[in-house]
């Protein structure tokens, strides 16, 4: 039986998180006007980890929010079961803020489209950047990440599984073996 293919472990993931933080620090945007938003369930964890590094370096607090995009999906009238909804939590005013949006895997771009629509219902940010661990380079919409830890060109039916310590007890990214 073929095993899942391990793409990254704790070290590699932590290195990407560091790069993300550096990229945020390097940017010409005013860091004091910056806020992070993570897409539930793992983007919010990534946002938190990156924020910790940035906060330490800059000695400031970055507002962090999380969003659940399920109510904004474009396939709600097609899918079998409506997925469980988790609470969105954006406890700050995002008008005119520079937003860094985090997710684990960028795939078709549809999740990001939903996230953007949801964010716009909370206010009008000045700018939104998209940061992801993995970019599967198979967007179906004209959306692409501003930063990705790794680009992965694989067939659409393959699944990339991201595990993060906070909820999965370990840091690991695997390419799930094909089902047949």
């Amino acid at each position: 039986m073929a095993k899942d293919f391990r793409l990254m472990g704790e070290k590699e993931i932590s290195s990407i998180i560091n790069k993300m933080a550096l990229e945020v620090l390097k940017s010409k945007e005013n860091i004091e006007n910056t806020a992070f938003i993570g897409i539930i369930k793992r983007g919010d964890i990534i946002a938190k980890r990156v924020a910790e590094i940035v906060e330490k370096r800059e000695n400031l607090k970055i507002p962090i929010g999380k969003i659940d995009i399920n109510l904004y999906r474009d396939d709600l009238s097609i899918i079998d079961y409506h997925p469980q909804v988790f609470s969105t939590d954006i406890g700050f005013d995002l008008n005119d803020k520079i937003i860094y949006l985090f997710d684990d895997v960028f795939f078709t771009g549809r999740t990001i489209r939903s996230a953007l629509n949801e964010i716009m219902d909370f206010g009008r940010p000045k700018k939104i950047y998209l940061y992801v661990l993995i970019n599967r380079v198979s967007a179906e919409l004209p959306i692409k990440p501003d930063f990705s830890g790794s680009d992965l060109s694989i067939p659409k039916n393959r699944i990339v599984n991201v595990k993060l310590k906070e909820i999965d007890s370990e840091d690991e990214i695997t390419l799930v073996k094909e089902d047949n």
Partner: protein, 309 residues
């Protein structure tokens, strides 16, 4: 869990896991109510008909708001302003409305089983918003949600349901739900307002209110349906108040962390003293807020994609 129901007809038919699943979603929907724009596109393009054959303020407004927050289009039909007055049957009314291509029907009716009757005959998802003295499932769900905000563990909970239990569909829905959680439920009412069906339920009965209220975590007071007095079910309002009303004096003897609940509308000074209704122990207005969140969760879950085909 994967939700596969198309209708919400009663609490009796739901499993504990299904109730928990609704409540978990409802807590997330409550957050939507706190947003600057209280609207999400989840039910965009869906049409909901609120068929209310009995008077209602809270439930109808609550469902209407839930539908609007989910971006569904909704229409309200009441018996007094519809062709029901001209003698049209329930099924004909519903079928005619459905022919206008609606997706969901919320029904309140004075006959027990009206929602089930429609669910078996319509293509739409059907939600029971109260059917006679049978059940009022969304009310019980919003009550469970409200209790969960202060008491997470239903297993070690002591609940008192007080008042006109005989005529209360809310009481029935609550009892079915609490039974699934193995919650200790006590009923208190004059013998004439105590139903005969209690054999179905594992509940305690206590006719002395002063004993009943003492050690409870939740005191749920039902509306005294004043129209019943004429039928001779209790001698006088004054006597009812003396023996079964949650007066301020009685309120002072309850447990410190107890909560006071009521499904509304309240008859202030009859089943519940006004000061008690407005006290910090009262979660009555929280119940109303949670009602919108619970109804959003139900509309969202029932309207899943392929299950409707």
């Amino acid at each position: 869990m994967n939700w596969s129901r198309r209708h919400l007809l009663s609490i009796e038919e739901l499993s504990k896991d299904e109730i928990d699943h609704i409540l978990e979603n409802a807590f997330s929907f409550k957050e939507v109510l706190l947003r600057p724009i209280k609207k999400v596109p989840a039910l965009r393009g869906k049409t909901v008909v609120n068929l209310f054959f009995e008077p209602s303020t809270r439930t109808l407004v609550s469902f209407s708001l839930a539908e609007k927050h989910l971006s569904a289009d909704s229409v309200n039909v009441s018996a007094s302003s519809s062709s029901v007055k001209k003698g049209e049957t329930l099924l004909d009314t519903a079928k005619n409305i459905e022919s206008m291509k609606t997706d969901m029907v919320v029904i309140r009716h004075s006959s027990a089983g009206a929602a089930k009757f429609l669910a078996e005959r319509l293509e739409s998802n059907v939600i029971n918003a109260g059917d006679g003295t049978h059940e009022h499932p969304t009310q019980a769900l919003l009550d469970f949600m409200t209790i969960k905000e202060t008491h997470k563990d239903f297993r070690n909970l002591k609940v008192l349901i007080l008042g006109d239990i005989l005529h209360s569909r809310v009481a029935r829905s609550l009892m079915w739900g609490f039974m699934k959680y193995k919650t200790e439920v006590t009923l208190c009412a004059p013998p004439t307002l105590m139903p005969l069906y209690l054999n179905d339920f594992n509940v305690k009965v206590e006719h002395d209110i002063d004993k009943a209220i003492k050690d409870k975590d939740v005191i749920y007071i039902l509306r005294m349906q004043l129209e019943r007095q004429e039928k001779g079910l209790f001698p006088s309002l004054r006597e009812y108040i003396k023996d079964f009303s949650m007066t301020y004096e009685r309120f002072q003897t309850i447990r410190k962390k107890s909560i006071i609940m009521h499904p509304g509308p309240i008859n202030r000074g009859v089943e519940l003293d006004g000061t008690v209704a407005d006290s910090k122990e009262s979660v009555i207005l929280e119940q109303v807020t949670n009602g919108v969140a619970v109804r959003m969760a139900i509309l969202y879950l029932l309207n899943g994609g392929k299950n409707n085909e």
